[in-house]
Symmetry: C3
């Protein structure tokens, strides 16, 4: 067969402490020795399909043409389907479990055009046990796709409309406030919200952040380094979303925020209520107004 792809972009929750990633990479290259495996990340928290799906979606438009292998697979060995999905916009085939981890990324690059369930064992390795599908199913399938195997050869066709969707939280207005959710906390402690810059434009400057741990004030900033010492800033991040940040400190640690936590954004009491001034902004320090946790919140 003619070689079709020369890159496998590989994301998982395998971590790097064990040899899982090395073994999957070795299996791929043992079958398709011309392939380069690019590790997108293997630091997805164990079993965290949502976090894996969001990381893959953030990366999707930057990945090289080829196979995108995503393995966050708590249901390995059960009747969850293993699938390969061809997408609309580019030369790429997504391979992984049909549990939602692929969904947002597939949507980002044009949606699923065709899909199969990976039912033909001729493309798998013999396995002493069912727990390492990355090695025994997904890696050899990815390699065979790189070698030119047709999607239809890998197994039974699946209606793309029947693939499990990802679930992305949507922010909403309530009583003049924007009820948002933390999508992602990165290594630096930046807190990405499911909020675009347009949504907070009416709130003026600074904004109030209502959190389980209290109310904080934050001002828009053009860069992390433009946030004043001790202050919080709202920065439009590299994905075009609003993130809560601090300069060389972890906003997430300071605010005790993690993925899935609620953040309510509102005009600050005593704020000017007007739009932010044009040009560069600088965050500023503000006293922390600690209040007791609202009843019924963790």
């Amino acid at each position: 067969m003619a070689s079709r792809f020369d890159t496998v972009s590989f994301l998982s929750d395998y971590g790097l402490q064990d040899e899982f990633v090395g073994v999957v990479t070795s299996v791929i290259r043992g079958i398709a020795s011309h392939v380069t495996v690019v590790d997108v990340t293997h630091g997805v928290p164990p079993h965290d399909i949502r976090a894996g799906g969001l990381a893959l979606a953030r990366a999707a438009q930057y990945l090289a043409p080829g196979v995108v292998l995503a393995v966050v697979d708590p249901g390995v060995g059960t009747d969850r389907r293993a699938v390969a999905v061809e997408v609309g916009d580019r030369e790429a085939v997504f391979v992984g479990p049909d549990n939602g981890v692929l969904a947002s990324a597939v949507a980002m690059v044009g949606g699923a055009r065709a899909a199969v369930e990976l039912t033909d064992p001729a493309f798998h390795l013999p396995a002493p046990g069912p727990t390492f599908a990355g090695r025994d199913v997904f890696a050899p399938v990815a390699a065979h796709l790189c070698n030119g195997a047709a999607l239809a050869d890998l197994g039974e066709p699946v209606d793309p409309g029947q693939l499990l969707p990802g679930v992305l939280p949507v922010s909403r207005m309530e009583a003049g406030k924007l009820v948002a959710e933390v999508l992602w906390v990165d290594r630096y402690g930046n807190v990405q919200l499911n909020v675009g810059p347009d949504e907070i434009e009416p709130f003026g400057e600074p904004l109030a952040l209502e959190l389980a741990t209290g109310v904080r004030s934050a001002s828009r900033a053009d860069a992390y380094g433009a946030i004043a010492p001790g202050a919080l800033g709202l920065v439009v991040d590299s994905y075009g979303l609003v993130s809560i940040a601090a300069d060389r400190r972890s906003a997430a640690a300071e605010l005790e925020l993690g993925p899935g936590d609620a953040v309510i954004l509102a005009p600050a009491e005593g704020g000017d209520g007007t739009s932010a001034p044009p040009g560069g902004h600088r965050g500023h320090s503000s006293p922390v107004s600690l209040r007791s946790r609202p009843p019924g919140r963790p």
Copy 2:
């Protein structure tokens, strides 16, 4: 010289926090620019020869033809030997310290056919100090092997029978119970035992696990996701060994088990004593019977 190998599979206890892995990789590619370095894992606990040897053995049969470089080397700079070992079954040369870390993997792929001590400094880098043999000895030797250097050129021959063996614990029956040991705890908290599924077949369903922290009950399960919430399961893992697992929880954390710990498997009191029923199994929850730690155990 004609190129012989194009892959170095590299395992170490270097971690990824420092630049050790990057420097070794750069040295290899500086000498043999056609080589791809596949990182098996660098997450072996510092100085842990047993853990490194087990990880290499689990990976061995999946590694690409080429050089297998394994550096877990607490004795670096002492008179422990640095060796290269050709194996029986496949096109591979194992390179590393002769301290046992290579032994189980070499045995897995057919045993040592020939070996040399890496005594010829012409294949090493000049070194300001003796502490980084990965960079100064093993990496250049691996690269020269890929470039076609003969094993015999690298140094003095060593009788393969004189290489330091690995030590694998063997389970044993005592008074109708199987005394086993934890080989490995993976990122997910699955606890691999030195026990094959045949060995526990006579014990019926469920089994009792006698641990330093108490006695727990566990049932066989075909997949992690088939273990009931709160229960423990015994799963035949991807290496064909019995592992103690839980569904989306860390069995190791819950049971306070780590590599080398003892686990005694026995028929459960009140268990049926018969073989497990055919077909799918589901684990089930059981009360935890905590007892005081036996005297003399940590």
Copy 3:
């Protein structure tokens, strides 16, 4: 354009938990598909320019010809300059922020011969926000350099003498004692000092280490494994510097030492005051003389 380089050596403080490294790698290979990205390390502590600069300097002489990409960039999005720097001794272009992270490594390989600020957006990606210059500026510039782009095409020339220098602490003699500083603590807990072996030669054997936590005794050793159980050794490490070490224990954890901490080396009270004997040395155990922390020290 003719391909110029086929390797990008990549160091950052991105960590491996998020997909930053994978995305940068994908962008590079999307523009220059012939390039291999070698990860030097991504474990530099967040925002730690000094640690990143030291790691890059330790690695510099071993890196393959090509682009050296170093991103530790707390000032991303501010007016800190993004630069590319050609060096004197070898075929290499360093790319990163002009904040000192490149300086020591550039000096190690011959110094800057020419430099430009990366002002031409034709070599960058369009960016939704300014916070991920690794993806949007540095990665595409590195790839275009590999593809043969000339340094002068990337932006405005910068006087190499105007690049921000790195700051390396220098040890000094005070009242017959050597006042040194910890440069680096590696994964094993070895404590590298800014001290060469010549500087401690007059102190005889053993030496006293005056630390914030007390005074300890240490003897020279040729290898970690030559340090006696419970003792501390002074080992000339793989960079030719003196490091405080222990055999299979973390000296740093035991002594509560981290980068930047002060260490005073002196002849031991009751030491012989003569030069060390020739041949192999062995460290020896010594009682720990704990004293209260000196006033004014942390």
